[in-house]
């Protein structure tokens, strides 16, 4: 079943049934692929039709129950149904707020990191070009009759490359330092979320993280 990644735990949808692929192993006797395909198609259609009907019936049931309640009691049920607990809603609100804060911090850091790096890269290129032109002037002055245009261009390019490489490795260590600062900021937000998560078990996710989102 190649189309169902492990992290999706919800029941198979009609689309998933329709596009399901069953891996063939070796040359053993098996089922007629055409028949399997036809069966999957039929199943997908039937499940889709049933899903649609179940949904309509549930909605209709919900509506009728409200109407019944209203007729019996002369009023609609209080919309704070028993399973709706304001403190749970508030916990959700708070958790989401922390998540947004963390995402915003990560995004701002990423954006400023990129902007700084671009600006510095630009400055490095400008400075490298300047240094290269100076090297070319020195070459011209020193070359005398052995001057060639090719050597001038080589001098220019070599100086440019040397200078840029040296500077970029400096930039990299600066980027790493900024990255560390960003990680610390995110870790401090995680520390604040920790106690909330311990007090209330984390909400179920339909996918599992196999790598940290902020790597």
């Amino acid at each position: 079943m190649s189309t169902t990644p492990q992290h999706r735990r919800r029941p198979l949808s009609p689309h998933e049934i329709r596009t399901a692929r069953i891996r063939q192993i070796g040359f053993r006797k098996g089922y007629d692929p055409g028949e399997v395909e036809a069966l999957l198609q039929r199943l997908a259609e039937e499940v889709a039709a049933r899903d649609g009907r179940i949904g309509t019936l549930l909605a209709e049931n919900d509506r009728l129950q409200r109407e019944l309640y209203a007729r019996r009691h002369g009023a609609l049920p209080a919309n704070t149904a028993p399973e709706l607990d304001e403190s749970a809603i508030n916990r959700q609100l708070q958790a989401q707020q922390y998540v947004e804060e963390m995402m915003a911090a990560a995004q701002t850091n990423a954006a400023s990191l990129v902007a700084q790096s671009k600006e510095q890269a630009r400055e490095i290129v400008v400075a490298a070009r300047h240094t290269a032109e100076q090297a070319v002037r020195e070459y011209r002055a020193a070359a005398g009759p052995s001057y060639t245009a090719d050597r001038e261009e080589l001098t220019r390019l070599a100086t440019l490359a040397h200078w840029a490489i040296r500077q970029f490795s400096g930039l990299r260590s600066q980027v790493d330092a900024t990255d560390d600062a960003a990680r610390q900021e995110l870790a401090s937000i995680l520390d604040r979320i920790g106690p909330i998560l311990q007090a209330h078990p984390p909400i179920r996710q339909s996918y599992q993280e196999d790598e940290p989102r902020f790597g």
């Binding site: 899903d51 909605a59 671009k118």
Partner: protein
Amino acid sequence: MDVAALKASWAQVSNLGDQAASYFYATLFSLDPGLRGLFATSMGGQRDRLLTALGHIVSNVEDTNRLVPFVEQLGRDHRRFEVRPEDYPTVGHALLHTLAYGLGPDWTEQLAADWSEAYGIVSSVMMQSAAAANEQNVPAWWDAEVVGHERRTGDIAVLTVRPERELRYRAGQSVAIESHLRPKVWRYFSPANAQRSDGTMDFHVRAVAGGQLSPALVYQCHEGDVLRLGAPIGTRLTVPPGHGPDLLLLAGGTGIAPFKAMVEELAANPVERKVTLILGAATRWELYDRIAIQQLAEALPWLQVIGVVSDDPTVEQSATVAEAALQSGPWYDRMVYVCGSPAMVAGTCQSMLDAGYSAASIRVEQFDDKTYAPLREDLTPEDAVAEVTRQ
């Protein structure tokens, strides 16, 4: 159903804006924590989309001819988000609870009955159209394998993907893309090629600093990854078939993508139109697709290409796309298409409007993550300018 009361109560709740939307999702996830997994980690754009879509429904509630196609599309689209029919009553419950919270003492039994009825109708139309789309074998999304990933500059990559089933689209349309690297984050991109016989599609992606999906597509995505693509949408950047005015295409950066597709599509068309493409970038290095564009210009006599850079110290003459357009014009008889970053689109539209080009002759399209996409299909150049100015 008391439509006036419905609208008035919505106006009151939507005044709370983000707060109401946050409360709605908190209620929804308390009712069914499993539903949290249907959404991205960051919910900011999601809240905006909810408010715009709900607002559109409420304000068109008595206009069935407009409302029904919209709600049907909403229903088909929600298959992509893996919403099941049994989730609809939960959403209705959360919605009514949010309205009660937002209206406080103004929440009456009559309003509860009206909203319940309205939601019941909308959700059953959504479910029916979703079920109908499933029965007609319309995919909820297309799985597409990345068969090519090429970094062109520090932050631009060209991805080639092969959808597992046929995905038909027009040049200039957009498709939403999701990657397992950032679950549930969908962003719109416009294919950079006209429909090919092998079905492959090219996407030009620039890593937006601090963006949610684009950096993952540029730096982490590999050949062999499987992306999900949504159904193509958009009408503003497509060229109506048959005879029509000549075209002026103004592209900034990766905004070249839909125009490249458009030129390819026009090349396959027996009706010839003159096309001038002005392609701009900050520096020469950022003109990442110039070789392919030059080849197109050499092969197609009706295509003229002008490349400009606006911020390159090694180039003597620098100009923005708008400046180049106005200098090389006049283009009053042309249909003008603009595509690029929101700032580039806004700036270019403003310059063209100031120079006397009519809003009706300028076509733009931008799908952001703040508005439910089909609601942006009639974006005008003035809207595009206003949005950027407001920010």
